[in-house]
Amino acid sequence: MNIEQQDFYTQAILSMAALIGLASFLMLGQGRLLRLIFVFALQGLLLTLTAALSAYSLNNHHLYISAGLTLVLKVMFIPWMLRRQVLAMHMNRDVEALENKTLVMLGGASLMVFSYYVLHPIVQSSSTIMVNALAVSLSIVLLGMLLMISHRQAVAHVVGFMSIENGLFFAAIVATNGMPMVVELGIAFDVLVAAVLFGIFFFHIRTSIDSLDVDRLNRLNEVDQ
């Protein structure tokens, strides 16, 4: 089945998958924290649109609730909170230099190829093109991990963690028409609690090592050298 034989809904979902993947790549290459948070909010918005789209076309009303939760949590509340913390700690002017940006980006691209390779057997045995979107969501998860590895700021790690959750959420919408509502609510509140806890951790890391650069945690020692 090629894309021109699919209905408009499938095409739209696949385009959304591509755009969400692009947002992950944009996050990976971002040096400034505020812009990183902005792109994260953008990814959340795309997820909201995807959820609303599949709710509309599959006539699955509880997906509207998921879309609403995503909108409130991932587009508004968490970005707002992270932004406030970044501003409070005066890190909005810091430029985080990646070691080798082009290499990291190409690494991201090869992760995408890898996730397609891994999911290829599933793609072949399944009848629907939807499973292809699983490859994208797996690569979003892997890209989120790469983001956490390659960036040094704790805030970027949190954004990476949240984008991993975005990838999982996308997989849930596309492949299984949404998780059961209980699971959905549970994960949403987990994410919320995690965000709050991260906020507290920020201040603790900040007070103990005077920076949010986690590379400096390596230098912590019990004894003074």
Binding site: A12, L14, S15, G21, V136
Partner: protein
């Protein structure tokens, strides 16, 4: 008859390019609250330059004086490949997109050679910068184009456009990426604002201008004209590949007129977009250009990947 039409289309291409440059300048001036020159000003400039006697440096070799003609003819040949108002013209059947990229590379090679030939500091600097940029821009452009050719399973532009036309409206993730990649490459290759400023003569930043500083008279006119045609070429590529609706598929007068109107409308819109982005953005540092272009390459790569992953499932 079709050959006549093909020649007419190429001539139209060459004749309309200064108008596009004038329109672009007009939009930009109005966005920046300046008084705009007339739309015909680029024609007047070219005419004035052709009337003047070219001054050639004493140490210039034959490359310096021949280069403008070579560049201009390479770009005009490139223009003859690209369908402007009609598809299925005989010139389009001769060469494909890879040849098109080759023509661009050929013109650029001679431009850089001419910049080096005269032996001034600026010329060499401009040439080296141009080559640095093009060495990354070219793979990015090819990547974007390959995404298209894989979808249409042909490297011939005119067949690819017909393929896109026949399919009707299909939301393709890969085309979104290819479109963005091609736009970024077009901005870099034609020397527009985030990469290079075409209106400046500031030594530190110029790329294209630095190479042609020593040119004057009709030589300069040819090079300027060639770069205007190149800008229009990229515009037509973007407009006709991704939004081919309106292009003439038969050779009746009505269809051709409609095709002409459509492409003029699309180019005018593209120019407005370009002038808005040029007004909003500041020129970036030269050392950030490779970051910008590697992003364009990444977009092309993602387009290819999403074509393979999302669209062509077996």
């Amino acid at each position: 008859m079709t050959w006549l039409l093909a020649i007419f289309q190429t001539l139209l291409f060459v004749a309309l390019a200064p108008l596009l440059a004038g329109w672009l300048k007009w939009c930009k001036c109005h966005l920046q609250n300046r008084q705009a020159p007339s739309l015909l000003q680029p024609y007047r400039d070219l005419l004035k330059l052709t009337r003047k006697q070219p001054v050639v440096a004493e140490h210039a070799s034959w490359i310096f004086t021949r280069a403008p003609y070579i560049i201009f003819s390479a770009i005009v040949l490139a223009a003859s490949i690209v369908p402007l108002i009609a598809v299925d013209l005989p010139t389009a059947a001769i060469a494909d997109v890879i040849v098109l990229v080759g023509f661009f590379a050929f013109a650029r090679f001679f431009l850089a050679l001419a910049g080096l030939d005269i032996g001034t500091a600026f010329g060499g600097m401009g040439s080296s910068r141009e080559m640095t940029i093009s060495s990354i821009a070219e793979p990015a452009m090819l990547m974007a184009i390959f995404t298209l050719t894989m979808t249409a399973s042909t490297t011939n532009l005119s067949f690819a456009i017909v393929h896109v036309l026949n399919e009707g409206l299909v939301l393709r993730p890969s085309f979104v990426f290819a479109l963005f990649a091609l736009m970024l490459v077009a901005i870099a290759e034609t020397g527009r604002i985030p990469v290079d400023n075409p209106d400046t003569h500031l030594e530190l930043t110029m790329i294209h201008e630095a190479m042609i500083l020593e040119y004057s008279g009709r030589h300069l006119a040819l090079i300027e004209w060639a770069s205007q045609v190149k800008l229009m070429l990229y515009g037509v590529l973007i407009a006709n590949i991704f939004f081919p609706w309106g292009i003439a598929q038969s050779f009746s007068v009505q269809a051709l007129a409609y095709g002409l109107l459509a492409i003029i409308g699309k180019l005018a819109l593209l120019a407005i977009l370009l002038s808005i982005s040029e007004t909003l953005l500041a020129k970036m540092r030269l050392f950030r250009v490779q970051e910008y272009l590697s992003f364009a390459y990444l977009l092309g790569l993602l387009g290819m990947l999403s074509h393979i992953i999302l669209e062509a499932s077996r």
